[in-house]
């Protein structure tokens, strides 16, 4: 039932991505609407504003969860597409291993960057 668990996480990550990308769209591209509600910032792409957001624990968690969800969803989807090419079992295992390695490596690197920026406490380098 390993494939069942992977598929379940694939679906769950899709739902998470929808919500977090929605939050991203709201924060970055619909700031005028949020401003009218008193929730947005003047210029969301301004570097001061970017660092201020990155220093927030809520955004730190959101970044890491979005990173993990997007990586898992994308890499599982890539693996599924490649599995439909009637490959041999050994090639399938190699693809699975490479996807897992790429996923963990990118997740580790992305998490490291998010934590480093968080620890700057909103101060630009």
């Amino acid at each position: 039932m390993r494939e069942s668990r992977l598929w379940f996480w694939h679906i769950l990550s899709a739902i998470v991505i929808v919500f977090l990308l929605g939050a991203h769209m709201g924060t970055m591209h619909m700031n005028t609407i949020l401003n009218s509600l008193g929730l947005g910032s003047a210029d969301p792409v301004d570097s001061v504003e970017v660092f201020r957001r990155s220093a927030s624990p809520v955004f730190l968690v959101a970044y890491i969860v979005l990173l993990g969800s997007a990586l898992f969803h994308g890499l599982y989807g890539l693996r599924s597409m490649l599995f439909e090419l009637s490959l041999s079992k050994s090639v399938e295992k190699t693809i699975g291993g490479l996807c897992a390695f790429a996923g963990f490596a990118l997740f580790g690197y992305g998490t490291y960057v998010a934590i480093v920026v968080y620890r700057m406490h909103g101060v630009q380098p």
Partner: protein, 281 residues
Amino acid sequence: MSDSKAAPTVVFEVLRFHPEKDKAPYLQQYSVPVTRGMTVLEGLTWIKEHIDSTLVWRSSCRMGICGSCGMFINGVPRLACNNQISHLHSDRISVKPLPNFEIIRDLVPDLESLFDRHRSVKPYLIRKDSHEQHHPVGEYFQSHQELINYIQFAYCIKCGLCLAACPTAATSDKFIGPQSLTQAWRYTIDSRDEGAGERAEQLYSSHGVYRCHFAGTCSQVCPKGVDPALAIQLAKKEAFVRAFGIRKQRRAARVAPPVENWVRNRDIPAPPTPTIEKSRA
């Protein structure tokens, strides 16, 4: 169809291929006079009887039960016997062998891959008590509702149309396919079955239900209304339910005890003595 009322004709464009003679398949055209209610299969029979006796296809029952005459007719996998020419609304009928299968000759697909897939999902009742399975002593209890749960999926005639229409099967030889996944599901939800665990290995493998794109073409082309896409979605749902232990596993149906003190209805005649015993005597 031709406008001429005297002799309405359609052009059959048939894919021909003889593996021992031809390097590649080619199209051959035949003009066929159409009568009212004439099916594509009858059109092919007319060609064989009047024009070209070398044309080859597979058919048997002529009434949509045996599943032998599956063909790719006007770009859609259909049974040649239950599709009338007039219902195709065209004066050109393209007839090719089913896609996603090797061609044996002309319109005859090699269904071996379908049967291999079918065999792989153990499409039969499995009981934990192997003695009881191999030496059954009676019938199993089954309610009307338990029968309704799977009966739709039991209508499959193994014609291969769903596999021919499946976009995943078109690229992946390893995909178990809508027909076999549906049959795996049909036996898994049968109240008499205890083989869900054995079948799950195939059903939920990396080439099982999760490779279905849910295009739904399998359900569209099924001539018996089996709806393989539904079976695959239900199997996915079951995997979720099982993974989280939301529902307890059901107990398999018991064997009904032998009926005692029974009296034969006098209106029903006794069966004849088995002929094999007669000859031995």
